[in-house]
């Protein structure tokens, strides 16, 4: 790594604007964490944690009463719980893409957004993991998932995609957490060295693990970071591919297609970037991060949203083509029903939000307009939730036997859990931006022009 010629320092447009020095970066980011709690934060936190309580209450009632409190029926045995699970897992993927894939491709603009995109990944996966856990009905039997010797002398069925899911998402969560914490170590040391209060210093010192920033430490640290990026990169592709096999390996028309893994991955990145955008725009505004999170960063993200949105649009049309081309009457029926049947309202909501609206980003002016990108990011979030709803519910509602066809309607508990999961997500996110540096300071400093050891000499000739 050290021997390669690095040209990443030279930009026609500077990555970080406002003539920053190392210490202005430290001050800017650390002061967010070190300043007093604002009223706005307290208000938002109160709102988010109240919603989280709604979720916890609903889970309590669910465990008491059973999954009959949901709108699930026969044949729609998978309702909003699985929709929410797939939605939240998908959200996480943008964080991994930003932290791992863009790192391997040496995209230095990622340094401004990677920390909170990674945090978003972890919190989204926490929200996701709640749903399969409670969906099994008998929550106390959840240990059946784990391949541990038990009193029944039974092992899990490793040939089932539902078990692959358990391994894939569990690994995803742990690896994301490790990656995030590893990135945090140098920044926690910064907060430690700035701490005035002795208790605060001690707590930060423990979490910073005694980091001293010596090159003999950076050497191993950088390789560990590279390895974690290398290990996380295939996870961007594998996790949602495995999630999609929950559907694709079944024989349900509308699920049983080979396009599912890449289609799900593109959708995951699409929805995840939209969520990063929503959160980033709010954080940027509230904490005045305009110099660190510049319009160039936002425009780059909008380009990714446009690209992945069109990949998703391609997948929607390819599904229809294959349904017709396969000559399978059940497959064709389901797709015609999707677009024009009882769930047509959901289908066209999805198409409008995911395919039509992001096309606005073809215009450079729109890509660089904060209000436009904020509204579009919300639309994409809504559209991607509907995508999972359409895939799961519309395929199940009309199965092979017309006498068992039914329509799925959510109950108040479905709504409470879905809205509550946003409460859990925002509670965790607000705690994060209040207590941890939301921008990777050490990495930002590394992409400043003066971080280049040859910069000083060039500077002298000016």
């Amino acid at each position: 790594m050290s021997k390669e010629v690095d040209t990443g320092y030279d930009y026609q447009v500077p990555l970080i604007t406002g003539n920053q020095t190392f210490s202005t970066i430290t001050d800017k980011i650390s002061s967010i964490v070190e300043s007093k709690t604002t009223k706005e934060w307290a208000l938002l936190f109160g709102l988010a944690s109240s919603l989280m309580m709604v979720m916890l209450g609903s889970i309590g009632y669910l465990i008491w009463e059973g999954i009959g409190i949901w709108g699930v029926n026969n044949p729609v045995g998978w309702g909003w719980a699985i929709v929410n699970f797939v939605f939240w897992v998908g959200i996480g993927h943008a964080g991994t893409l930003i932290s791992a894939v863009l790192f391997l491709f040496r995209q230095k603009w990622r340094t401004s957004i990677n920390r909170f995109a990674e945090a978003m990944t972890i919190f989204a996966v926490i929200c996701a993991l709640v749903f399969p856990g409670i969906h099994i009905g008998r929550v106390w039997a959840v240990y059946y998932f784990f391949p541990i010797p038990n009193q029944m002398d039974m092992w899990p069925n490793f040939r089932s995609p539902l078990l692959w899911d358990f391994f894939a998402v569990g690994t995803y969560f742990t690896v994301s957490l490790l990656f995030w914490y590893t990135g945090l170590i140098p920044d926690l040391a910064t907060l430690r060295d700035r701490a005035k209060n002795s208790l605060r210093k001690k707590v930060l010192a423990i979490f910073a693990l005694g980091w001293r920033g010596g090159n003999k430490q950076w050497k191993h640290y950088e390789l560990a970071y590279l390895l974690l990026a290398g290990l996380s990169t295939p996870l961007v592709l594998s996790v949602h591919s495995v999630v999609s096999t929950d559907f694709a390996t079944s024989v349900i028309p509308g699920w049983h297609t080979t396009i599912f893994p890449p289609y799900f991955v593109a959708g995951a990145i699409f929805s995840g970037f939209a969520m990063v955008m929503t959160l980033a725009l709010i954080a940027r505004r509230v904490y005045h991060l305009e110099h660190i999170l510049t319009l160039t960063h936002l425009e780059n993200m909008n380009k990714i949203i446009l690209t992945t949105g069109m990949m998703v649009g391609y997948a929607y049309s390819m599904e229809f083509f294959i349904a017709w081309y396969s000559g399978n009457p059940y497959e064709s029926f389901i797709f015609v029903e999707r677009a024009f049947g009882q769930y047509a309202w959901a289908y066209w909501t999805m198409i409008t939000c995911n395919v039509f609206i992001p096309q606005i980003f073809w215009s450079r002016k729109m890509r660089r307009s904060i209000p436009v990108m904020f509204v579009i990011s919300i639309f994409v979030n809504i559209g991607m939730w509907f995508e999972r709803f359409v895939i799961i519910v519309s395929s199940l509602a009309q199965d092979f036997l017309p006498s068992s066809w039914d329509y799925f309607s959510p109950t108040v508990w479905d709504v409470a859990l879905m809205v509550g999961s946003f409460g859990l997500f925002f509670t965790l996110f607000l705690l994060f931006i209040r207590h941890l540096p939301m921008v990777a300071m050490a990495e930002i400093k590394g992409v400043l022009p003066q971080a280049n050891p040859h910069h000083a000499h060039e500077g002298e000739t000016h």
């Binding site: 980091w211 001293r212 003999k216 390789l223 290990l231 000499h457």
Partner: protein, 179 residues
């Protein structure tokens, strides 16, 4: 003739990444081994300047990954085909294709844990107490300070001569850290 305090390290501050890089080259040329260059972010070219070898972490993680993958394949094969054979939708008992997914997941999981744990181990972390923290100035390393530290365990270390040497190569705010 007992000394009250024992010198443990000498610390010198440098202006910017370029100065630190040149200082590292000179400290390395002078033959010191137990020294380090502290900076808020990794500096490109520093490994060469310090004569550092590449970290062995990749080989360690690679070995663990290999063992974890094969181990998980074997475990799934044993549970599915030997300890609890169960015929499901006519699939072979040893369905290596389907075992690949969990094996892959476990491989990534163990590799990531190994990468972090071994990285910390190689760095001697967590270590909350270190003589460098005696310096009030050293805390700047995590903001915008660039430091060279030479530890007393180095055979070339001499509490005065090492200080003079660091001064001669452009070090400022030179401190002798004692305990």
């Amino acid at each position: 003739m007992e000394k009250q305090k024992k010198a443990v390290a000498v610390l010198a501050e440098f202006k910017d990444p370029a100065d630190l890089l040149h200082a590292a080259e000179k400290v390395n040329e002078a033959g010191y081994k137990a020294y380090d260059c502290h900076s808020p972010f990794p500096i490109h070219g520093m490994d060469d300047a310090m004569g550092e070898k590449r970290s062995p972490l990749g080989w360690i993680v690679g070995t663990v990954a290999f063992i974890a993958f094969l181990g998980m394949m074997a475990f799934q094969g044993w549970t599915s085909a030997i300890d609890y054979p169960l015929i499901l939708s006519g699939k072979p008992l040893f369905s290596y294709q389907t075992f690949g997914v969990a094996s892959w997941a476990v491989m990534v999981l163990t590799s990531a844990i190994t990468a972090v744990v071994v990285m910390l181990g190689l760095n001697g972390l967590p270590r909350l107490h270190h003589p460098l923290f005696y310096s009030d100035n050293f805390g700047k390393f995590s903001d915008d300070g660039f430091f060279v530290s030479i530890e007393a365990k180095d055979p070339l270390f001499h509490s005065e001569k090492t200080q003079q040497f660091l001064e001669s190569i452009g070090g400022k705010n030179i401190e002798l850290l004692e305990e």
